[in-house]
C-alpha cells in the first residue's frame, strides 16, 4: 500500500485576470522510503502541487480538487487543525531559498525547538536535546554553540542543513523538498544531495523532490514525473525516463542537460511555456514541439502506458515507431563523445 496516493489533483487560483489552472489533473503515488522527482520548467505547477498536498496555498483564492490519500486519510479533506498536526510531523517540507526560509529574528535553536514542541508536549530541555542531535546529524560543525546563533550567521549551505534538520526532527514519513539545491552553489548542491540521500537511508522517509535539474534527478530519484504546463506529460521509473524517454518534451529536457564531454552541443528547447490563464488547445507542448502535426493542435493527447511497460506513461500523439526513433536519436546524441 502506497504511502501517498495523489489522484486527479487540480489546483486553480482565482486572479483579477481570470482563473489560472496551476495543476490540472495530476496522479502519482509515493511508496514508503522511495524518492519521487517532479521535473519541469519554472511555472509548470511543481511547487503548487506540493503546496496543495501540504494545504499551504493561500486559502482565499485557491480551489483544490481531487484526492491525496496519505495513510488512509484524504489530506485535501482534513480540517485545518487536523492538517496542522500532519504538517511538520508526518509530512514536512524544505524550500528553495534557505536565505529567506528561516526567521531572521529567532535563533536556529529556538526555531528547531519550536518544530518539536508544536507536535509533542516535551520540555525545553528535551526539545533542546533533539535539536542538538539533529544539528549534529546534518553535519553542522560546533553544533552546541551554533544553536544560539541567528540565521544570518550561517552560510546558504549551512542554512539549508538547518532546514533539513528542522524538517526531519519529528521523523516524518514524507519529506517534500522544493528545489532544495537551486539556490546553492554546485559543490554545496552535491553535499546537500548526499546528505539527503544518507538521511533518507537513516530515517527511512519517502521524498518528493521538486527540481528543474535533471542532474539532481539522476542522483536521487527512484520515480520521475515530468510536468509541462500544469499537466503530467510523462511519468515512470528512473530508467524509463533516462534511457527510454517517450515524450518530445522529455527529449528536449535531456538534450538541454550540460555535459562535460567534448563534441556535445547544448540544445535548449526554443520558446517558453504557455500561459496557464489561457492554455493552447490540443497538446500544450505543440507550439514548441519540432515533431508536432495537425492532430497535436486540436486534440488533447491522453496519458497512456507504453505498450511493453504499464507503469511508464506518456501523453503524446506520435506513433510507437516515431517515439522509438526519437528516443534513440536523443540518446545517441547525448552519449556522443562519452568514453
Amino acid at each position: 500500500m502506497a504511502l501517498l496516493e495523489v489522484r486527479d489533483l487540480k489546483t486553480a487560483f482565482k486572479t483579477d485576470d481570470g482563473i489560472v489552472q496551476a495543476v490540472d489533473g495530476l496522479s502519482f503515488t509515493v511508496e514508503k522510503g522511495r524518492t519521487v522527482a517532479i521535473v519541469g520548467e519554472s511555472g509548470c505547477g511543481k511547487s503548487v502541487t506540493c503546496l496543495s498536498i501540504m494545504g499551504l496555498n493561500p486559502r482565499q483564492n485557491t480551489v483544490t480538487s481531487g484526492e491525496a490519500i496519505f495513510k488512509d486519510r484524504d489530506l485535501l479533506k482534513l480540517r485545518p487543525e487536523e492538517m496542522r498536526r500532519v504538517r511538520g510531523n508526518e509530512i514536512s517540507m524544505i524550500f528553495q531559498d534557505p536565505m529567506t526560509s528561516l526567521n531572521p529574528v529567532h535563533t536556529i535553536g529556538r526555531q528547531l525547538r519550536e518544530a518539536v514542541t508544536l507536535h509533542e508536549s516535551v520540555g525545553k530541555q528535551a526539545a533542546h536535546r533533539r535539536a542538538l542531535e539533529m544539528v549534529k546529524a546534518v553535519g553542522i560543525p560546533r553544533a552546541e554553540t551554533r544553536l544560539d546563533d541567528y540565521p544570518h550567521q550561517f552560510s546558504g549551505g549551512m542554512r539549508q542543513r538547518v532546514m533539513i534538520a528542522m524538517a526531519l526532527i519529528n521523523n516524518p514519513d514524507l519529506l517534500i523538498a522544493d528545489e532544495p539545491t537551486t539556490a546553492l552553489d554546485v559543490t554545496t548542491q552535491a553535499q546537500i544531495l548526499n546528505l539527503m540521500n544518507q538521511l533518507q537511508r537513516d530515517f527511512g522517509s519517502a521524498i518528493i523532490l521538486i527540481t528543474h535539474d535533471l542532474g539532481v534527478v539522476a542522483e536521487t530519484a527512484d520515480d520521475v514525473l515530468v510536468m509541462y504546463a500544469a499537466e503530467a506529460i510523462e511519468q515512470g521509473g528512473y530508467g524509463d525516463i533516462f534511457y527510454r524517454p517517450r515524450h518530445p518534451y522529455t527529449w528536449g529536457l535531456l538534450s538541454s542537460l550540460p555535459r562535460l564531454a567534448q563534441g556535445t552541443e547544448l540544445k535548449p528547447i526554443p520558446g517558453a511555456p504557455p500561459s496557464l490563464l489561457r492554455p493552447p488547445p490540443g497538446c500544450r507542448f505543440h507550439l514548441r514541439c519540432p515533431y508536432a502535426f495537425d492532430r497535436c493542435r486540436t486534440d488533447v493527447p491522453p496519458l497512456q502506458p507504453a505498450p511493453d511497460k504499464p507503469d511508464h506513461l506518456d501523453a503524446c500523439h506520435l506513433d510507437e515507431a516515431a517515439k522509438q526513433r526519437g528516443a534513440e536519436e536523443i540518446l545517441g546524441r547525448i552519449t556522443v563523445g562519452t568514453p
Binding site: 499551504l56 514536512s92 524550500f95 526567521n103 531572521p104 519550536e114 544570518h152
Partner: protein, 323 residues
C-alpha cells in the same frame, strides 16, 4: 551591544550640537539687537552696551556659542529671558511635562488604535472591515487636527459638557494656586487632546502596519512556520508581528519628533501651557534664551526617544545588535 550603544550616544552628541548651533546662527542672522531688547525701552546707548557686554553679546558668535555650551553643560543653566527676566530653565521645566504628556500619551493612543486595526486589515484584505478601516484612514489623514480639535472641544467640552474645554492639570498633584491636579484630573484634561492628536497618526500607522504585515505574511519564513505545523495565531504573533514591527518602530522614532512640532498647534487649541506655547511667545518677542531653551529640551527629548527606539530595534532584530 556596548559598542552599538556608544556609537548611538556619540551620534546623539553630534545631533545635539548641530541643532543648537543652527538655532544660534538663525538668531545671529536676523536683524534684531537682543541687547536692546534685554536692556528695556528706556535704556540709553550706554546701558545697551553694558547689557551687551554682560550677556556676551559683544563677542564673536563662536565665543557666544561656547559660552552657552559651557553654561549648559557645566551648570545646567540656560540663562534668563530677555523679555521678563525669568529663569529659562524653570520656564522650560514647567512647560516640558505638559508637552511630554500630550505627545507621549498621543503615541500610546495612536499605537493602541493602529496595531489592532492594521493587523486586522492585513489578515482580511478587501473584507468589509478592511474597507471600513481604509475609509477611516482616508478620513483621518484628511481631517486637520486643529479643526478636529476645535470641533471636539466644542461638542464634547461645551455642548455635551463631558470633558473640560481647555486647560491642563499637573500629574504630580495640586500645586499652590492651581484648581486641579493629580493623575485623574491630568488624564481627564488630556483625553480629548490625545484622541484628536492620535487621529492623524493612527491613520498613517494603520496603513503602514497593514502593508508591512501583508508583506511579512508573504515571507518565506512564514511559510516555513506553517509548514512546521504552527497554528495561525502562533504564526502571527511569533513570526509575523515581530518582523513586521521593525519598520514601524523606526518610523515611530522619527514621528515623535514630528509630533513635537504638531504639539505647538494643539497646545494653542486646548490651552495647554506646554513647550509649543512657550516657544511661540518667545519667537514673537525675539526672546531667544527661551527659544533656545525650548530647542535644547525638545532636541534632548527627540534624542532620548530615538535612543530608546534604537535600543528597541536592536532588541527586536539580532542582525542590528550583532552587526
Amino acid at each position: 551591544m556596548i559598542r552599538y550603544i556608544i556609537r548611538r550616544l556619540l551620534w546623539a552628541v553630534v545631533l545635539f550640537i548641530s541643532v543648537t548651533l543652527a538655532t544660534y546662527l538663525i538668531f545671529y542672522i536676523i536683524p534684531v539687537d537682543p541687547a536692546r531688547l534685554a536692556a528695556g525701552k528706556a535704556a540709553t546707548p550706554h546701558d545697551v552696551q553694558v547689557v551687551a557686554h554682560r550677556l556676551y553679546l559683544d563677542r564673536p558668535i563662536y565665543e557666544q556659542y561656547l559660552h552657552f555650551l559651557d553654561r549648559l553643560v557645566l551648570h545646567f543653566d540656560l540663562g534668563y529671558s530677555y523679555a521678563n527676566r525669568q529663569d529659562v530653565r524653570a520656564t522650560v521645566l514647567n512647560a516640558a511635562p505638559v508637552t511630554a504628556s500630550l505627545v507621549l500619551g498621543a503615541v500610546v493612543v495612536w499605537m493602541l488604535i493602529a496595531v489592532p486595526v492594521g493587523v486586522y486589515s492585513a489578515l482580511r484584505p478587501r473584507s468589509l472591515g478592511d474597507r471600513t478601516a481604509m475609509i477611516g484612514v482616508l478620513t483621518g489623514i484628511s481631517v486637520h487636527p486643529v479643526w478636529l480639535g476645535l470641533v471636539a472641544s466644542y461638542i464634547l467640552g461645551f455642548q455635551l459638557d463631558l470633558f473640560p474645554i481647555q486647560g491642563y492639570c499637573a500629574f504630580t498633584g495640586k500645586a499652590p494656586g492651581e484648581v486641579c491636579g493629580g493623575p485623574v484630573d491630568w488624564f481627564y484634561h488630556l483625553i480629548v487632546p490625545w484622541m484628536v492628536f492620535a487621529v492623524l497618526y493612527a491613520a498613517f500607522y494603520v496603513r503602514m502596519i497593514r502593508s508591512t504585515v501583508l508583506e511579512t505574511l508573504n515571507e518565506d519564513y512564514v511559510r516555513t512556520a506553517r509548514a512546521k505545523g504552527a497554528p495561525e495565531q502562533r504564526v502571527l504573533i511569533h513570526h509575523v508581528l515581530r518582523n513586521a514591527m521593525l519598520p514601524v518602530v523606526t518610523m515611530l522614532g522619527m514621528d515623535v519628533a514630528l509630533a513635537l512640532g504638531g504639539a505647538v498647534l494643539l497646545e494653542q487649541v486646548f490651552g495647554l501651557p506646554g513647550l509649543g506655547y512657550v516657544a511661540l511667545h518667545s519667537l514673537f518677542q525675539y526672546d531667544y534664551p527661551i527659544t533656545l531653551g525650548v530647542v535644547v529640551f525638545a532636541s534632548l527629548l527627540v534624542i532620548v526617544f530615538n535612543l530608546v527606539v534604537d535600543l528597541l530595534y536592536a532588541w527586536i532584530d539580532p542582525r542590528i545588535r550583532l552587526a
